[in-house]
């Protein structure tokens, strides 16, 4: 009985395996139009309506499973999308920053072509800003180690920004044009008359150009630029032709007249600046040295240009 069962079991297995192999061999050996392929197609023709019905009947189940799968997939995709958005946002900010820096550097290069290069410009980044409403100073990341000295002029892509008032080894403080001790000799447009540009009292964001001859032309909208000299034969700390601001209105006085000037440089949005570090032996350096050596009270923090103003004023 046992042998019979074993024999039957083995015979069934052998039969099924051989049948499978025969089917496999025959199916694999014949072409697409062969008999087994035909049987398969016929079977599909019979089964396909049932399959179609089952497919429709099982659609809610499939949708349910798909919903779970899609929800999980969507959640993972959401996480990826958020990460990607964050990455792209960072890249965009970095690109915009790079673009802004590029424009500023390009403009500074343009300034170099105007003769600023003779003053050994040192490019620096603003690393600290005065939170005061008067907004008089900023800190930069270049100091004595880079050749920056007190009273060096500071410019940016738009024009004159201010001058160095304090120097450390690797940093410096720049007093802006609107600083209370600033004074720059300047002229209007292509005119020859010069005046002293100083901060306007009570107007933290505006400048006043004083001591202009009463007959000097001054029209609103004209540009005020550095004159390059404090007096005939005395060069200024600042190279000639740097834009300071734009004339907004004129004030008539007795012997002189003054004009209101709005700074061109956006002093509230400084990022990259250049310090004009005049080399030893140059006229600018000599002048700065003279200004720095004056006794307290005579030079003040205004330095050479204050001296110039005294000369012009006198």
């Amino acid at each position: 009985m046992y042998d019979k069962t074993v024999r039957r079991r083995r015979a069934v297995l052998a039969l099924l395996v051989v049948l499978s192999l025969l089917l496999l061999t025959a199916y694999f050996g014949e072409g697409p139009s062969g008999r087994l392929h035909g049987v398969q197609r016929d079977f599909l023709t019979i089964v396909s309506p049932i399959q179609d019905g089952a497919n429709k009947a099982l659609k809610p189940v499939r949708d349910l499973f798909s919903w779970f799968g899609n929800t999980l997939h969507a959640k993972s995709q959401l996480g990826q999308a958020l990460k990607q958005t964050e990455k792209l946002r960072r890249e965009l900010v970095a690109d915009q920053e790079e673009k802004r820096s590029y424009h500023e550097l390009a403009a500074l290069t343009h300034l170099d072509q105007l003769g600023v290069g003779d003053y050994r410009p040192v490019t620096a980044t603003v690393i600290g800003k005065d939170p005061n409403v008067w907004y008089e100073t900023v800190a930069i990341n270049k100091g004595e180690a880079a050749g920056v000295r007190r009273n060096d002029a500071v410019i940016n892509a738009e024009g004159l920004v201010g001058k160095v008032t304090q120097v450390a080894s690797d940093g410096a403080v720049v007093e802006l044009l609107t600083g209370s001790s600033m004074g720059v000799m300047a002229r209007i447009g292509t005119g020859q008359a010069t005046g002293l540009v100083r901060p306007k009292v009570g107007e933290p964001n505006d400048l006043l150009m004083q001591y202009l001859p009463s007959n000097a032309p001054a029209n609103a909208g004209e540009y005020v630029v550095t004159s390059g000299t404090v007096a005939p034969g005395f060069p200024s700390l600042y190279p000639p032709g740097l834009i300071i601001g734009e004339v907004t209105s004129t004030n008539e006085e007795s012997a002189y007249k003054s004009v209101n000037v709005h700074p061109i440089a956006n002093l509230h949005d400084l990022d990259i600046v250049q310090v004009l570090t005049a080399g030893a032996g140059t006229a600018a350096a000599n002048l700065a040295q003279v200004a720095a050596s004056l006794p307290a009270g005579q030079s003040g923090s205004g330095g050479g240009e204050q001296l110039a103003s005294a000369q012009v004023g006198g």
């Binding site: 039957r8 069934v12 049987v39 398969q40 599909l44 499939r62 799968g69």
Partner: protein, 191 residues
């Protein structure tokens, strides 16, 4: 064998196989889990062998495999050959070892799934499928086995419930059950 009509078992098994194959084709194949599809049919064949013995398991495997090959226009005889071997092997496991551990269906399901996936890949390679053995293939096989392991116990429960009243009674199992309950000898024989 018990007095249960063999026709009843065949009928139940055929109905179950039909439902499972359609469910596999219509639902499971279209819902990937971890990027792979569960293989319900391999589990069904394995559990049929584990519950009904090697002959029924092999026959069930052949029939289910042939049905799948016909319905999906696959190489005829390929799935039936693999499923025949799976059903037979699981049936022999029952006949020789009769494992009673609770995790047996899980382990059998894992082994059957691995055998099906590896066997199918091997057969395809032998038949000349122009695809290199890659890490991706290994990943699909491993994930497929994992997914099948997850659903093995529910499929086992379903299969056993459907076939429960029509299962053949193994004389050895009956003897063993009696030995467990009576301690091997009746009180009278001890005396």
């Amino acid at each position: 064998m018990s007095g249960v009509a063999p026709g009843q078992l065949a009928l139940r098994l055929a109905l179950l196989a039909l439902v499972v194959v359609f469910f596999q084709i219509g639902v499971v194949s279209e819902v990937p889990v971890f990027g792979v599809n569960a293989e319900l049919c391999a589990l069904l064949v394995a559990f049929a062998g584990l519950l009904c013995g090697s002959t029924v398991g092999a026959a069930c495997g052949f029939a289910v495999g042939l049905f799948i090959d016909l319905a999906l226009l696959q190489t005829l005889g390929l799935t039936s050959l693999i499923f025949t071997l799976i059903g037979y092997w699981c049936g022999r496991l029952r006949e020789l070892r009769d494992p009673q551990a609770a995790l047996t269906p899980l382990l059998v399901g894992v082994a059957a799934s691995a055998l099906a996936l590896v066997g199918y890949s091997l057969m395809e390679f032998m038949l000349g499928v122009d695809a290199p053995v890659s890490f991706e293939l290994l990943r699909v096989i491993v994930l497929g086995v994992v997914v099948n392991a997850i659903i093995a116990l529910p499929v086992w429960a379903l299969t056993r419930r459907v076939l429960e009243g029509a299962l053949p009674e193994d004389p050895r199992r009956r003897r063993r059950r009696r030995a467990y309950t009576t301690g091997g000898l009746s009180p009278l024989s001890k005396a």
